[in-house]
C-alpha cells in the first residue's frame, strides 16, 4: 500500500529546545493511525507541525511526494491536509452556517470531489443560525469535523477528538471518524483515550520524549499494558 504522508527526521519545538527529536512516521493511504503517549511526549506539537502552525526545524514532511515544509498552514489545507484542533476548534462568535461557509470558501477544493460535511452531519442544518459558541461540546466537535471536511481532504488530522466528551458522545465521535475513513480519507489521530481510539485504528504509534518509541498494529497494542509501552518495558 502507498503512503499518503511521509515524515522523516522531524525536529520542532518552542523556544530554544526541540520537543520533537527526529520523528519518522508514514501514514498509509486509507488507514487510521493513532498516536498515543504520555503527557508532554510531543503528540500535539507533532500534529501542529504537520498542520503548519509550528515550523519544522529539521526533517521533511511530504504529502504523496509533495514537500510541505515550505508551505504555510493555509496552503497545506488547500494541498489536502485538514486539521481539527483539540479545543477552540470553531469560530465561537460566528454562526454554524458562517463556520461552514468559511471552510468552503477558503479551504479550496483539492480536486477530489465535493465536501463531505452535509453528507455526514445532516443534524447541523437545524443549528445553522446558532452561534457556534452556544453549541454543546458534542455539537461543537461535530461542527469542527464538518468544517475540516468541507472540502474532501487527503489526510484528516485530529487532536484529541474525544477530549471533554461524555462516553456516549465519545463513541459517536469515533463512529464519525470511522465513517469518514470509510469514504477514503486517511486519518492521523492523537488521543489520550487510547483504548477507545485504538479500537477503530489500523496502526498505533507510541511517542515518548519527542521520539517514536514503538509502532505497530493497533490490535496488538490493545493487548499490551500501555504503561509499560510508554516506559519502554514492552515493545511492538
Amino acid at each position: 500500500m502507498t503512503n499518503v504522508l511521509n515524515v522523516a527526521g522531524l525536529h520542532a519545538g518552542y523556544g530554544a529546545g526541540d520537543i520533537l527529536k527526529g520523528i519518522d512516521v508514514a501514514l498509509e493511504k486509507g488507514r487510521i493511525v493513532t498516536m498515543i503517549g504520555p503527557n508532554g511526549s510531543g503528540k500535539s506539537t507533532f500534529i501542529k507541525t504537520l498542520a503548519g502552525l509550528l515550523p519544522a526545524r529539521q526533517g521533511t514532511i511530504e504529502l504523496e511526494g509533495e514537500r510541505l515544509n515550505d508551505l504555510s498552514a493555509p496552503k497545506r489545507v488547500r494541498a489536502g491536509v485538514s486539521y481539527v484542533p483539540q479545543e477552540y476548534n470553531v469560530f465561537r462568535n460566528l454562526t454554524v452556517l458562517e463556520n461552514l461557509k468559511i471552510a468552503r470558501e477558503f479551504m479550496g477544493v483539492n480536486g477530489s470531489g465535493p465536501g463531505l460535511a452535509e453528507e455526514l452531519f445532516p443534524d447541523l442544518r437545524s443549528h445553522y443560525k446558532k452561534q457556534a459558541g452556544n453549541l454543546s461540546g458534542g455539537q461543537r466537535q461535530m461542527l469542527a469535523f464538518a468544517c475540516a471536511l468541507a472540502v474532501r481532504p487527503r489526510v484528516l488530522m485530529l487532536d484529541e477528538p474525544s477530549a471533554g466528551l461524555s462516553p456516549i458522545l465519545m463513541s459517536a465521535v469515533f463512529d464519525k471518524v470511522k465513517q469518514v475513513n470509510a469514504m477514503g480519507v486517511s486519518i492521523l489521530m492523537v488521543e489520550q483515550n487510547a483504548r477507545e481510539a485504538l479500537r477503530i485504528s489500523d496502526t498505533c504509534i507510541v511517542l515518548a520524549g519527542g521520539r517514536v518509541r514503538s509502532c505497530g498494529p493497533a490490535e496488538v497494542v490493545l493487548g499490551l499494558d500501555l504503561k509499560n509501552l510508554y516506559l519502554g518495558a514492552d515493545a511492538l
Partner: protein
C-alpha cells in the same frame, strides 16, 4: 431637542472611526492610538483636493479615502508589521509615536490655523423646532451608507467573514485556509477608508486643524469600549450613546467638562462590564 439632535450628529460622526478602531483591534489585537492623526491627515488631503485643486468635496473625499486606505497598508508594512510578534503594548506605543508624527506632518504642511472645506452655503432648515444644516444631513447620509456597506461586508462577503474569523481565533483561521496577511491588508485598507471619511465629516462639522482627530480620540475609544472592542455593532451603538450623552451633559455641566463624559464612561465600563455591551468576555488561552 436641538441638543439631542446635535448629540446624534456627534455620535454619527464617531461611528466610522469607532468602527475602524474596533476592526483593527479585533484583527490585530492592539489599540491603535494613531487613528486620530490618520483622520487628520486624510481630512487635509481631501482639503488639498477640494480647496486647493477645486475638486467637488464628494470626489475629494472619495479619493482621500482610497489614498488613506492604501497609505494605511503601507504604514502597517513599515511600522506595525515588523513589531507584530512583540505584543500589544509595543504596537500601542508605536501607534502613539506614529500619531505624533502624522499630526505634525499635517501641522508642518498647513500650520495651526483653522481651515474649512469649500462647500456651497445653504440655508439650514427646521423640522419640529430642530435646526438642521446640509452638512449634518450629509453626515447622516454618508455614515448610514458606510455602516450599511460595512454590515454587508462583515456578514455577507467572504472577506468580511474572514476578518471576523481572524478576530475570533487567528490560529484556527490559518488551518481553515485563511491567509492572515491578506486579511490584515484588507482590514487596514477598510479602516483607512473609514478614518478618512470620518476625518472629512469632522472637518465639515467643525474646522480643519492639526489636533482635530486627536480631539475625538478619547470619545472614539470610549465608544468602541462601550460597544465592546471587536464588535462592529457595538461600535455603532457605543458611538451614538457617547455622542448623545456628551452633548446632553452640557445641559447640566459646563461645556468645557464635556470631555469628562467619555472618560467616566470608560472607567464605568471597565469596572462593571469590561467586555462592553456587545463584546465577548476575554478568556486567556
Amino acid at each position: 431637542m436641538q441638543t439631542l439632535f446635535n448629540g446624534i450628529i456627534t455620535g454619527v460622526i464617531m461611528t466610522l472611526p469607532a468602527l475602524a478602531v474596533t476592526l483593527l483591534f479585533g484583527v490585530l489585537k492592539f489599540p491603535n492610538f494613531a487613528v486620530g492623526a490618520m483622520m487628520t491627515v486624510a481630512a487635509y488631503l481631501a482639503f488639498a483636493l477640494n480647496a486647493q485643486l477645486g475638486w467637488p468635496l464628494v470626489v475629494a473625499a472619495g479619493v482621500a479615502a482610497l489614498a488613506m486606505g492604501f497609505a494605511c497598508i503601507a504604514i502597517d508594512q513599515v511600522t506595525f508589521k515588523p513589531l507584530r510578534e512583540r505584543g500589544a503594548i509595543t504596537l500601542m506605543v508605536a501607534s502613539l509615536g506614529l500619531g505624533f508624527i502624522l499630526e505634525n506632518i499635517a501641522r508642518f504642511a498647513y500650520g495651526n490655523a483653522a481651515r474649512g472645506f469649500v462647500v456651497e452655503l445653504a440655508r439650514p432648515f427646521r423640522f419640529a423646532d430642530v435646526r438642521m444644516n446640509h452638512e449634518q444631513m450629509t453626515t447622516i447620509a454618508v455614515a448610514s451608507v458606510a455602516m450599511a456597506a460595512m454590515y454587508v461586508l462583515l456578514t455577507r462577503l467572504p472577506m468580511g467573514r474572514a476578518m471576523r474569523a481572524v478576530a475570533d481565533n487567528p490560529a484556527l483561521a490559518l488551518v481553515r485556509g485563511i491567509e492572515s496577511p491578506r486579511v490584515i491588508r484588507w482590514t487596514w485598507f477598510i479602516a483607512g477608508m473609514l478614518l478618512a471619511v470620518g476625518g472629512v465629516l469632522i472637518g465639515m462639522d467643525r474646522a480643519l486643524e492639526p489636533p482635530m482627530g486627536s480631539n475625538y480620540l478619547i470619545s472614539v475609544f470610549a465608544a468602541a469600549i462601550l460597544g465592546g472592542l471587536g464588535s462592529p455593532l457595538g461600535a455603532f451603538v457605543g458611538a451614538l450613546v457617547i455622542g448623545v450623552v456628551s452633548e446632553l451633559s452640557t445641559l447640566v455641566v459646563a461645556p468645557n467638562y464635556r470631555i469628562g463624559v467619555p472618560l467616566v464612561a470608560i472607567a464605568v465600563i471597565l469596572v462593571f462590564r469590561p467586555q462592553g455591551l456587545f463584546g465577548q468576555p476575554y478568556i486567556r488561552r
